[in-house]
């Protein structure tokens, strides 16, 4: 055989092999790999998300991605039943204030972790003590600011001593990111425990245990037969969560059936596109997310720290901005209805929520009113267009932030009252600058720690609030303190309403939108539960 023939033969063989390989691969993938048809009933449900996990140690993270894991694998003393934002005992049998500053919990008997360790009051005390001891900068220990000490007088009794009595948010806090119960034999008392150690220690007592874990790639959950809480047992044989970086890849995979459920965070455009896809269903639920503009009372136009400081003019600028904003247009044009207009600081659906901005500003019915804005400025003696330096972030609040703030700029410039200098900064720098008086007014968003109006008021409008925007109102501060320990529900709702009214008049922040929770699920997937607890439950999902 000549080389000529041999080479040609090899080429032919290679081409043939490639063709055969392609056929083989297609056949193989259809058989044993991931088929487009999705999993059968005995296969785990696959959930896709773009959320990230910082740590699955409750002391080491305070973000949606990490908390989603904790919700499945750790028990809570209190939790929300499916479909509600109200909390009831979970692994607790009961809980009540036994004195104004003592909250006593009785645990259900016979609780165990999946590794066989008993779950006793000692583990509960350990879980809270270590949160306070570690106080990690990425952790949620700040939620336990009212906790003075924890005692475990016997195996089923836990006594929380609080600094301020009758804390009406305490049961909610017991269901929050600060409150998962962990195994004292596995977790470190004074340091964040690694994910590997937690998984190896099988230190889980929630509805699921983690079967295998590859951080931010894949987590496999199987139902925990030892779960002793009040939530129903898992309706599926297991769940696998696949982590995506690019939401468009997630969209394609849920559309093709590669994943059964896509939860957080497809873009509004993707959701709109998928809504006409028969292969999937769009499931919506109440959203706890709020989006708003923060005003820095020192550096905004006519702010206290500026050369032309004038409190009345500063307020008029904020009020005129509120008059001009068309929330409905932003919600529909930019977010395709995946957000709804927000006319207060507490989202609709929570007890005590009102809508004071609807009447106070614009056309009195939620719409914009340029004439009213002009009158407001004129009455304050502002006759020239005001230059607004408005900052937003494009990499933390979703890809549509740019469009959202382009719309805000366009609306504010309507009628020539304002000229808006819009600027963007990436998140790491943004989070530094916003607390350093760099931005006169800027975009922020908020996801609640627990489902209570207080979580939308105290962090923003109390003294030393996390906005660091130099806003202070003694009347608001007093009401915030009062409502937190108000035991009468109607009175508390009224006080929460008063706070909203006062802040709406001051306009420390300008609420824009309220998010809805959106999950995209395969047409054959049932049990998607999106409620006011803002916890995404894996257990009720099934095919």
């Amino acid at each position: 055989m000549s080389l000529h023939h041999s080479t040609r033969g090899r080429l032919g063989l290679a081409v043939g092999a490639l063709g055969a390989s392609a056929i083989l691969l297609a056949g193989c993938a259809g058989g044993g790999g991931d088929s487009a048809s999705g999993g059968s009933s005995d296969e785990p449900l696959i959930i896709g998300t773009t959320d990230k996990i910082t740590s699955i140690d409750p002391a080491g993270s305070y973000d949606n991605g990490s908390f989603a894991v904790m919700n499945q694998v750790y028990p809570f003393l209190f939790n929300s039943a499916y479909g509600t934002s109200d909390v009831t005992p979970d692994i607790a049998e009961s809980g009540e204030f036994t004195s104004p500053t003592e909250y006593t919990v009785t645990l259900k008997p016979g609780l165990t972790f999946a590794n066989g360790n008993e779950l006793t009051a000692s583990d509960v005390k350990f879980s809270f003590d270590r949160q306070l001891a570690i106080a990690d900068e990425n952790g949620p220990s700040s939620l336990l600011g009212n906790l003075d000490s924890v005692a475990a007088p016997d195996d089923t009794t836990v006594v929380f001593t609080l600094k301020n009595g009758n804390d009406q948010t305490w049961e909610q806090i017991l269901s929050s990111p600060a409150a998962p119960i962990v195994d004292e034999d596995v977790f470190s008392a004074d340091a964040v425990t690694s994910d590997d150690d937690i998984v190896a220690g099988n230190a889980f007592a929630g509805q699921y245990v983690i079967d295998s874990d590859s951080p931010n790639e894949l987590i496999s959950y199987v139902p925990n037969p030892d779960y002793g809480g009040s939530l129903p047992a898992a309706a599926n044989g297991g769940v696998t969560v696949s982590y995506y970086t690019d939401a468009s890849n997630l969209k394609l995979d849920v559309s093709s059936g590669e994943v059964d459920v896509a939860f957080r965070s497809l873009s509004a455009t993707d959701i709109d596109d998928l809504s006409s896809d028969d292969a999937v269903k769009i499931v919506e639920g109440p959203g706890g997310e709020t989006r708003y503009i923060v005003f820095n009372f020192d550096t905004m136009p006519f702010g206290a720290g500026t050369a032309e400081a004038d409190a009345a003019k500063s307020l008029a600028v904020r009020q005129a901005m509120a008059d001009l904003i068309d929330r409905e247009a932003i919600a529909e044009d930019v977010y395709k209805g995946t957000y709804t207009p927000l006319y207060s600081f507490v989202p609709q659906g929570l007890s005590g929520a009102t809508e004071p901005l609807k009447e106070l500003y614009g056309d009195g019915d939620g719409g914009p009113d340029a004439d009213k804005a002009a009158s407001t400025l004129e009455a304050a003696g502002i006759t020239e267009p005001v230059q607004l330096n408005l900052q937003y972030n494009g990499d933390h609040y979703g890809p549509s932030s740019g469009d959202e703030y382009a719309a805000v700029k366009s609306q504010l410039e309507e009628g020539g009252l304002f000229t808006v200098n819009l600027a963007q900064t990436e998140w790491v720098q943004y989070s530094k600058d916003r607390t350093s008086d760099v931005y006169p007014m800027y975009q922020l968003g908020w996801f609640p720690d627990y489902s209570d109006a207080d979580n939308y008021l105290t962090p923003f409008f109390s003294a030393d609030n996390f906005l660091v925007n130099h806003y202070e109102n003694a009347e608001v501060q007093e009401l915030i303190t009062t409502q937190a320990s108000q035991t009468d529900e109607a009175t508390r709702a009224d006080e929460i309403g008063q706070i909203q009214q006062l802040v709406a008049e001051d306009l420390s922040t300008l609420p824009l939108l309220q998010g809805t929770q959106v999950a995209v699920v395969g047409a054959d997937v049932e049990g998607t539960t999106l409620d006011g607890s803002f916890k995404f439950r894996y257990a009720p999902l099934h095919k």
């Binding site: 993938a29 044993g32 690694s194 970086t245 690019d246 530094k432």
Partner: protein
């Protein structure tokens, strides 16, 4: 002026010296140390130009006193030269520190994700060979005809097109449009679950898929590799094509090829027999350079296709300003490139003894 002695020396064939190869290998091996040392130093200094890593990552998120405490705990408040020597010592002990974002040892990150990048680079090299060499031969065979022109234009387009753009185009065509190839990831979720069940996974999915004995998993892994390998490999294929074409055409002008042609050997046979093998020798050297380009390109390819390799992690840690992790990954890439170049040099010396002198 050339003396008779000089002329004789020039005319005398060069014979490989005894031990020449070993001496060459030893020198090349020793040269790796200063190369890596300089790289580590440059990376260290570049990472510190804007201050300490903790301030970069956590500044603004922590109160000043807590920030200062963290900086002191990590030793970043000490003189730069002290930190430098400590870091160098750590690198030589295989300790690159812990990431700031999740506290994991950087070495673990390198081991976990390095295998994925090597696997992708391997697939890309296969694409480069499978496309670049035959098409280079074809271009040489059809030189100065329309096929040659088309292939040369294709080669230029291949290595001039940005990887992320090529990747997106491939995704749009084969994943979104035709729906025949996976859009992202190294394997489907169910295959990954099977691979995770292995007690001692290599991290190279193809090997692990063979180990679990599941043809479906093997097929799934290979299907997921096609688009990223094409995106990354087409660049190198374009370079190989040009190189093979140029070298084959050059070799076709050699005296021994002319002799063969005068004996009536056909042009096709001249290309595939006489000019083929000598023209491939420079490819070996170029591979060394391409490894560095493949690793650099892997950052974009892995990000585009969510291929969880070291390039993907590098972009994630860069976004989080985790400079400890970034520093470790960059140093590792530099070391891999240095070692690869060493291996390539040795292979080139084995193929062509003249390289040693």
């Amino acid at each position: 002026m050339v003396t008779a002695v000089d002329a004789a020396a020039v005319a005398k064939p060069v014979a490989p010296q005894r031990g020449g190869l070993w001496r060459y290998i030893l020198i090349r091996l020793i040269l790796i140390i200063p190369t890596v040392f300089i790289l580590v130093t440059v990376v260290f200094l570049l990472m510190r130009v804007t201050g300490d890593p903790i301030t970069a990552a956590l500044g603004g998120r922590l109160p000043p006193d807590q920030l200062a405490e963290r900086i002191a705990q990590a030793g970043y408040d000490r003189p730069l030269y002290v930190q430098y020597f400590e870091y160098i010592g750590g690198v030589f002990r295989g300790d690159f520190g812990n990431t700031l974002t999740d506290g994991r040892p950087v070495v673990d990150i390198l081991l976990q994700y390095g295998a994925a990048t090597l696997e992708l680079a391997f697939y890309a090299l296969i694409v480069a060979f499978v496309l670049g060499i035959p098409l280079g031969l074809l271009a040489a065979y059809k030189r100065d005809r329309w096929q040659d022109a088309a292939l040369r234009i294709a080669a230029i387009l291949g290595y001039a097109t940005p990887i992320f753009f090529l990747g997106m185009v491939l995704k749009l065509i084969f994943s979104v449009g035709l729906g025949i190839l996976p859009v992202a990831g190294r394997a489907g979720t169910r295959t990954q679950l099977k691979l995770q069940s292995l007690d001692d996974p290599t991290g190279i999915y193809l090997i692990d898929a063979f180990r679990i004995g599941d043809p479906g998993a093997v097929g799934d892994v290979l299907l997921h590799a096609i688009l990223p390998a094409l995106a990354l490999g087409i660049l190198t294929a374009g370079i190989f094509l040009r190189l093979v074409r140029t070298n084959v055409i050059g070799t076709l002008g050699a005296q021994y090829v002319t002799s063969a042609r005068s004996r009536g050997v056909g042009e096709y046979r001249l290309v595939t027999k006489n000019a083929y093998r000598p023209a491939l020798i420079p490819i070996v050297t170029v591979i060394g350079l391409q490894i560095a380009m493949l690793l650099a390109g892997a950052v974009l390819t892995e990000t585009t296709f969510e291929w969880n390799g070291i390039g993907f992690m590098l972009s994630e840690y860069l976004k989080a300003r985790d400079f400890v992790a970034v520093q470790g990954i960059v140093v590792m890439i530099a070391v891999v490139v240095a070692i690869t170049n060493f291996i390539v040099d040795v292979v080139a010396a084995l193929i062509d003894p003249r390289v040693r002198y």
